[in-house]
């Protein structure tokens, strides 16, 4: 009975739903039995495994293990799961670390692997001495300590943070042979806990002339950005905790501004001062760095939003498929506008598409994991994902993006930031040998 039902359902759901081996997403997520049964050959059918080695106990099963550490770190066998560093020798310039998306799953970036960009090293801040002042166009300027902020009503929310320069290698006119960490590693997602900025502004009062606030860090370059008061009164928060523990030093310890969905640089770390003003300060990062040049020579100002985006993390560049058969395509989608509505996946370079399964919960301005079952025939394939958000924004194709935003005449160094706010479709080409490479399609 059970077998025949599984076989019938499996027979239907494992029908291809788009070209080059994409299988109905309903074959996943809670229908593991069916998928397992349908993988064929292996599970449940080959009862006679003649000649298999008898199972033996390994040493770790025969002796007492290691003592329990105060703060546990990953297994030594996971030593390759690390960030990549743009400035490993701490030269006098900024320093980036990138999240290894191809080695992670789910939607939460572990704190040790959250991307960071710091413009003057990572400051060592004594939390008892740190102060946050809010002043300028307020009714009464106030000073807060970490201890007093910790007594305010808190909220927790998942939110991605993405550098406005993430994915910049894709402005290159040819696909740079780099992995998902190098291309998209300046985006991460965590649960942030802290105090809403609007709560503190209730206490300072707001002079109606205030249209912007300037946020400034306690780091050596006093990194500073201007943010519209609209965002302050919407979902801006002073984050004190990251995935349940205090912020990591590189992520802004002991407190940072969190502006869900807005470019990473605006989420000022080591936050020590907020000044309400009538006009933006036109700091270097807003007047120059995050004003992307357009093909007509003009430039966008106050881009703010990290627009809808997705990319496949597995399989992806640098990985090798071990042979034809069933695989799960898995990736990340997110939008600074709100929740992801759907993700479509193609295995034939965009000729045909099928809808991917979205892992619940699908949260606003947070990573959403999508999955798609795929049977690789062993022939060439081009894997793509394309996301839509609930506001109706759709991730552009590369051709659409280049038409609107342009591309470089020749490749730039992979660590350079030739332009900002790139969000088009990423393509991974699978060769007949199973090697996966970055391609344009």
């Amino acid at each position: 009975m059970a077998n025949s039902r599984n076989r019938n359902t499996g027979g239907q759901s494992l029908e291809p739903v788009a070209g080059n081996g994409l299988i109905d997403r309903r074959a996943l997520l809670g229908r593991g039995m069916m998928l397992a049964g349908a993988m064929g050959g292996g599970i449940g059918t080959s009862s006679a495994a003649a000649g298999a080695e008898p199972l033996a106990d390994d040493p770790w099963s025969l002796e007492i293990g290691e003592p329990t550490p105060l703060y546990q770190v990953p297994s030594k066998f996971e030593a390759k799961v690390v960030r990549t560093l743009s400035n490993p020798n701490h030269e006098p310039r900024n320093s980036h670390s990138r999240t290894p998306h191809h080695l992670l799953e789910g939607t939460t970036t572990p704190n040790g692997l959250h991307f960071t960009i710091n413009h003057g090293g990572v400051p060592t801040i004594d939390p008892d001495k740190h102060r946050l002042v809010i002043h300028g166009l307020v009714k009464r300027p106030l000073e807060f300590t970490l201890e007093t902020l910790s007594r305010y009503p808190m909220i927790s929310r998942m939110a991605f943070v993405e550098c406005g320069g993430n994915s910049a290698p894709m402005f290159s006119p040819e696909p740079m042979q780099e992995n998902v960490q190098a291309i998209h590693g300046l985006a991460s997602c965590a649960e942030w806990t802290g105090v809403k900025l609007s709560t503190l502004l209730e206490e300072t009062g707001i002079d109606p002339r205030a249209k912007w606030f300037i946020a400034e860090g306690a780091d050596s370059p006093r990194l500073s950005r201007s943010v519209p008061m609209k965002k302050a009164l919407d979902d801006a928060m002073i984050a004190l905790y990251q995935n349940g523990e205090r912020l990591m030093p590189g992520n802004g310890y002991p407190m940072r501004l969190l502006l869900p969905g807005y470019e990473g640089n605006m989420n000022v770390k080591f936050l020590r001062r907020i000044k309400l003003v009538e006009q933006p300060a036109m700091s270097m990062y807003e007047a120059r760095t995050y004003s992307p040049i357009l093909p007509n020579g003009k430039a966008y100002r106050f881009y703010f939003l990290q627009e809808v985006k997705s990319f496949i993390t597995s399989p992806s560049h640098g990985l090798t498929l071990k042979g034809p058969g069933l695989y799960e395509i898995s990736g990340i989608a997110y939008s600074g506008t709100g929740p992801i509505e759907k993700v479509m996946v193609s295995a034939d370079g965009g000729q045909s598409w099928a809808q991917a399964a979205l892992q619940e919960p699908v949260l606003s301005k947070a990573f959403t994991r999508f999955r798609m079952p795929w049977r690789w025939s062993g022939g060439p394939a081009t894997l793509q994902s394309r996301a839509w958000d609930e506001s109706g924004n759709v991730q552009p194709t590369r051709a659409e993006f280049v038409a609107a935003r342009g591309e470089l005449p020749k490749p730039a160094p992979v660590l350079a930031f030739p332009n900002q706010h790139y969000n088009s479709i990423t393509s991974w080409g699978v060769g007949s040998n199973g090697e996966v490479k970055h391609v344009y399609a």
Binding site: P141, E216, L294, G297, A299, P339, P418
Partner: protein, 180 residues
């Protein structure tokens, strides 16, 4: 994600919490502080010149400071080295291509006040906040003069600096006006 049911619960909880206190009261743990006490930290400068400090400087005063404290990274006369070039000597500057290499001070930066602001808050990289305001004005004047945006003898101070019109000032498009 808030369901209506949870939102209603949250609202009733909030009302219950506020019942014992006056309406919209916050914990009031913020300590009052006056602007005079904040002044040392308040280095914000607006493009109209608001916040610029007293003092001033000339290109001639800036040249030796530049040579001593800036040229190791930014190259002789601002031509660039491991850090960005600060002087753009192209005869006809126009934005050619979308690369950030086009974003020179002369060719791209919309406001002169940003130069003063960035030097004062972030430079020199390894000794930030070590320059006097006069030195920052002098370096700003030096960079503007080398870019032929001011005369060789012009004094930069709180009055004159905001009046320096940068060539690319009106070449920007607000990306999402409804978010401001």
């Amino acid at each position: 994600m808030f369901t209506p049911k949870r939102a209603a619960f949250a609202a009733s909880l909030l009302l219950a919490m506020m019942a014992g206190a006056s309406l919209a009261e916050t914990p009031n743990f913020g300590k009052p502080i006056d602007e005079a006490a904040i002044a040392n930290w308040d280095i914000s400068i607006l493009p109209d010149g608001t916040g610029l400090p007293k003092g001033g400087g000339t290109p001639a005063q800036g040249a030796p400071i530049y040579a001593e404290k800036c040229s190791a990274c930014h190259g002789d006369n601002g031509k660039g080295a491991q850090a960005a070039a600060l002087v753009d000597n192209r005869p006809n500057i126009e934005i050619a291509g979308i690369s950030a290499s086009q974003k020179t001070i002369k060719g791209f930066w919309p406001y002169s006040t940003t130069i003063f602001d960035f030097i004062r808050r972030a430079m020199p990289f390894q000794a930030p906040h070590s320059l006097t305001d006069d030195e920052v004005y002098a370096l700003t004047a030096y960079i503007l003069a080398e870019n032929k945006l001011i005369g060789a003898n012009d004094v930069m101070d709180a009055q004159s600096l905001p009046k320096v019109k940068m060539p690319n000032r009106d070449n920007f498009i607000i990306r999402f006006p409804d978010r401001i």
